[in-house]
Amino acid sequence: MDHFDQSSLWCCREDFSADKSQHHGVPTVTSKEQMKVEESISAYYQFIYNKKPFKTEDLKLERSRHVAYLRHGLKNLSKSFEFLDASRPWLVYWCLHALHLLEESLDLDEQQSVIDFLARCQCSDGGFGGGPGQLAHLAPTFAAVNALVTIGTPAAFAVINRQSLADFLARMVTAEGSFRMHEGGEVDIRGTYCAVSVARLCRLAIHPLMSRTASWIVHCQTYEGGFSGSPGLEAHGGYTFCGLAALALLDCQHLADNNRLLRWVASRQMRLSGGFQGRTNKLVDGCYSFWQGALFPLLHHTLTSRDNHADTDSCWLFHCEALQNYLLVCCQHPSGGLIDKPGKSPDFYHTCYTLSGLSIAQHFCYGNTSKLSVVGHDANEVAMTHPLYNVGMSAVHAAKSYFMQQPDVQPSVFSASPSSATHNANQVPSRVNGTNNCNDRMDASADAVTEASQRLHISFAQAAPSVTPNSGCSLRQGPD
């Protein structure tokens, strides 16, 4: 079909202008900034609207430009990246995952270079640092594990020292169940998500290490419905993803107020642009396409397992087409790479998370139903991402089946003191009858997003026995 009906595009709806923000007689910093951004977005949308006749080809994901941008970044970065010198595994992950989404593969030499570099970032006492020789930190640990899983070869998986990783996690856990980012570092919900995510992906035993974690996370849900970085703070997209994904991975999503959360996240989609904001009354930003967008698959699971009313449309409960519209029209930089909003420069973080959000918006996949809805050119389809880990769906399965063959791993300190499990069970919030039930059911439903991963969980029950605990590991930040 050469011509298609423009009015079916979110940016070309006839009553577009009625969705513009107004000062309503009270101009403030917030409304001024909001209207400025809407003005630049409107200019882009108006351009599409005025373009007649309109062809589907006109709304195109500039795949080759983005691939070139990412391939270059994966190799060489300018001096201006010195400020990310403590986040190099992140740079690797952002580039690799974005390339994967664009269905671009690395040759064997490129894979080997990445594997070799990430191995140099791994610390002898567990976890990965921001670069060779840096202290282990949960964020680059998450990034390195995800990057290696994205490569998905036995050589890549074998880099991860699971025993020392488990020991590192055990050193970072706090008495209240949250996680410190690094030795002597800050505590917030990012650390908690990173810890839970790598533990689940690498199939480390998380019990009793994380027996208090879910109840700590629940304290981060605010009156608005989203989650904050730590209890008391404001609901925020990135932290909400961390909170809900970690709860889901711990099979404790029912501890959250999912209805209030759904209201909050649905309300973060911007009326005019179709993109997501991170917090109430803040500006749209392409990266929240993933942080907010990925909450919908997770919520879909909980809300539909309760009843059948959520999935009648075979669609997530946000405007997937409007989001794709925003990303394709406003977030592609002409020289390659994707951006936060018009006027910004591209970076690898935004390239990764805008494409991840695009993936969520295109692929509905729940139970036995999967539906593809691609806005614009047919070739705009990107690969499907896993909404809990944000690595390719197939990569998650490959990792799990690989680690299933490996010996069971417990943090040394916990395997030596099983009594801490019973002690921790007293810390569950009054809203549930024991979090330990959660953890027991975890393998059965954490990845209910796909049937295939469930099969993997079942066979995991017959996995090999534990490895002998290392000696000499001390618990500096233990749950006592």
Binding site: L91, M181, Y223, R271, R279, D313
Partner: protein, 391 residues
Amino acid sequence: MAEKIDDSQDEVWMRYKDRKEWSDVVPIKQNDGPTPVVKIAYSADFEDVYDYFRAVVAAGELSMRALTLTEDAIQMNAANYTVWQYRRRILEHLKCDLQDELLFCREMIEANPKNYQVWHHRRVIVGWLGDGSKELQLTKIIFAQDAKNYHAWEHRQWALRTFGCYEGELQFTADLLREDARNNSAWNHRYFVLTRTSGLTPEVLQSELVFTQEAIEKLVDNESPWAYIKGLLMDTSGDEEEIEKSWCTTTAWCWNLLAKAVSKNTMSSNSNDGSPDDNGSDDVCNFPYINESSRNAFNGLPTDTECSNLIDKVPSIAKGCISPHLLIGLLDCIVHQLEKTEDPARKETPLKIALQVCDTLAKQHDCIRVRYWNYVRRQLQHEHRSSSASA
């Protein structure tokens, strides 16, 4: 001796490899391996500082000169948590003057207000000093540039929790909200302060409702106070009867706001019909869960017919002329009413109204959330229709 002139700052910068006092140290290069990826083209100065930093760490040197070195390394990349952590080890070991450190820290915060490491370092140092007296002022300086800076809010809440100096804090949020009533961080902080000081006692709940309703009346299309008011009413820590009464007054207040909005937008057609002060109809108000005494506690409560008449007019109001937040706030009140009502016959009208509100949000006033509002509609039908149909 090679000296490098920094063009931008006109300052003489001598590399560590050229400094006499460092001649005893052998710098350690970063080992990126034979086939590096994400290889950063470091400036020579950056490489020099970090080569010496690696050497100092490898030797475990906790000295004054190492402290200065960490400062240079931080200036070059304030996000290097390894350097900050090592710096703390040195500060502890040398028992340095922490007041100086506070000054350095403040400079770094002002230069990098969105960096995790600078704020964390500040908290560690302030914790060591046991004196949080400068912290509220520091965050105020940052809020002057960005009143929504997440790190600054986190720091402020940490200081309040740690040192408990909550006096004036409620006023502080009120001041920020007077500047910008759309500042959601300030609303959130207000909730934080109340729930950690007085708690939502009946008096506090009342005054907060007044405060928030006034804010909404000034600017109806502001999502923040709407979320806040719902937060107050959903809080389960307070007196249940008091909260129920507040739901009622809020519901009546919402209907009045809607009546105003409707009459403003339908002035030309029919100005009187359907507004709550129109007492032409003789049906009763349908708030079955309030007792008579609280029913008399407020006036202006519309009857079911009046409510229906008002809602019927909403779809004819042009998009953008009525705040979706008002409709959503009203919907929340009606849903609460439905949940508190057991008699199926008394559910009929509120359910019909709630479904109508979902419809008009989905189709006209909040189209971006069409799937969400259709979902809410189905949920309501599922939860309440069965009981209402069996009547």
